[in-house]
Symmetry: C2
Subunit: 345 residues, 2 copies
């Protein structure tokens, strides 16, 4: 829990335009589709025969992140990744982002540098151009709003409302780990607050904490689909937890779903840590959120295309709406999965 | 100064998705280019042979607006308009917006309804589709982040860095009124705070207060350009004040500018109110901001195309960089115009 505000240059020393120039000068423009990036009233993007895909997300200090255990570089990285994840969930490729930031006067230029280092890393790794944004002050805390813009051939875009009866329900990666990483960080924060002399115990928790602080978007899955000529019948990214996302797919496709508990991928570290916290691992997977994995359905005829793909799991199938959304537990019971609506006001 | 929080339905009664559905259900999709709007991971936009233009802005309570005198409907309208203004400033036509909102728990569903009524009015008036966004909570205050997406023929897009030596410097509308409107509202707020029994005196101030609370973007100017086959050589919208915007055009085009004070349009109400506040009207025009007029340059050969257009004023010309940015006052003096950098941290 290092002090991210140690070396201080007042942002007013640079002013708005100076700060934007300073923070964005090392962001290259890599895409021919980016006709104009930062520095005009608007960015200009030209996709010719491709469709444009746009997604936006806002991260608020005290709601989505806690500065006590979130390094600013990780935060910048994550703010980009959660938006790219939405673009991949359309089976599209992100090409540009805009980043708007509101900061209170407790943030220094050095703090903003750290944040933009993370944004830069994400842009470089996922090959997206930073093309615009806004920079303003806030009376309290840090707010980051990112809009991602992607491109796709119109006939390859995958929506949420196009799953068909009998389609197989699949998921990438593993679930629940980001939520458990958050629980670890929250626990260490409480210990630190009650006794600042105690150092945080994060040894051996790298995987779970990493899933919370530095998630990745599943570009690799989209690339595997392309290589294997697979177009999912529907897709959504898992930001609010598996249950909520299954609920969205079902509602929008006017179907139900049958999910095998044994088919829901959970990392061994997550299994162990859930038990340590006296939680049910499957509950963490269903309701945890922030995994940024892809939930998708495929036509059963395409099963050979995914069966041997790494890190993709078939966990159920789409059924009639009247049959509801059900989890078949390892113990042989059938439970209704309820949409864990988000309520964080 | 009515209470915008009187009738209260807790936003938690609806939840995130319920609230989004509730707020956005009456927003139509009007553009064939909008292939998919709200309700998936991302919106899908298809421009065929047009270029995509993207702009984003963030408005923060306590920085950009004061809830004491800003009706939420006006705020929603303005949040959209300031972004559309950026798209028009590219000589492009806005087609879609995304709106992300963070709200503290003091905002009710009814308050959000008011905000979205304003967003709806702006979408209807400017013919843009609401295609996505994010809805989250904030520990304090209201934050609105809007991204506007427009389209233009690539050869008609107008940038900031393409003004040429000898080009005429023009502006739409009038300047300084929005700033004076803000001064009136701030004065009435102070009077109200020191004596809540006194009713605000806004009679006869409609024009100035209206310019602050409900600005419009200059779609009409862009349409006039099109009808008159005029393509400005450079353009920018006036959000931070004339001085700052002239500075941007000059810096990016590597030129200086010569501005006639008598050519800077100021509304009679603004003249009078400036004197009332013991301010120099030209200072209000140069440094006030939030006018959302268009500042642009034209080739002198095009002078016949703008000379008789309503609400467009020629106020100077582009000169060599070495000659600086100068104001020729009514008194015959020559003053350097300095970029009023924004500093509101």
């Amino acid at each position: 829990m290092e002090n991210q505000f140690e070396s201080k240059t007042d942002v007013n020393d640079l002013g708005e335009f100076g700060l934007i120039d300073h923070l964005t000068k090392n962001f290259p423009i890599n895409h021919p589709s980016t006709k104009k990036g930062i520095g005009d009233d608007a960015a200009v993007i030209d996709y010719g025969d491709l469709a444009t895909v746009v997604s936006t997300d806002m991260l608020v200090e005290g709601i989505h992140f806690d500065m006590m255990y979130t390094p600013l570089m990780h935060l910048g990285y994550k703010a980009v990744v959660v938006n790219l994840s939405d673009i991949y969930a359309m089976n599209a490729t992100p090409k540009q982002i805009t980043v708007s930031i509101a900061i209170s006067n407790r943030f220094s230029v050095e703090a903003m540098d750290e944040l933009y280092k993370g944004i830069h890393k994400a842009c470089a790794f996922y090959n997206v151009d930073l093309v615009g944004g806004d920079m303003t002050s806030s009376p309290k805390g840090l707010i980051i709003s990112v809009t991602a813009i992607g491109a796709a051939h119109p006939d390859k875009i995958v929506y949420r409302n196009t799953a068909k009866l009998g389609d197989l329900l699949c998921v990438t990666g593993d679930l629940g780990a980001a939520y458990l990483g958050l629980q670890i960080l929250e626990r260490e924060k409480q210990i630190y607050l009650s006794n600042p002399g105690i150092q945080p115990e994060l040894d051996g928790q790298t995987y779970l904490v990493g899933r919370q602080l530095k998630p990745e978007a599943r570009r690799d899955a989209i690339q595997m689909f392309e290589q294997n000529k697979l177009i999912p019948t529907s897709m959504i990214d898992i930001s609010d937890g598996l249950a909520s996302e299954i609920f969205h797919l079902c509602k929008q496709s006017n179907l139900g779903a049958f999910v095998e508990e044994s088919g829901v991928p959970i990392h061994p570290d997550a299994e162990l840590k859930a038990l340590d916290f006296k939680m049910d691992p499957i509950t963490c997977a269903l309701s945890g959120g922030e995994d940024y994995e892809l939930l998708f359905t495929i036509n059963p005829d395409d099963i050979e295309k995914v069966k041997y793909l790494p890190d993709i799991y078939i966990m159920g199938e789409m059924v009639k709406k009247e049959d509801g959304i059900k989890l078949h537990t390892k113990g042989g019971n059938l439970h209704a999965i309820t949409a864990q609506g988000w309520k964080h006001f």
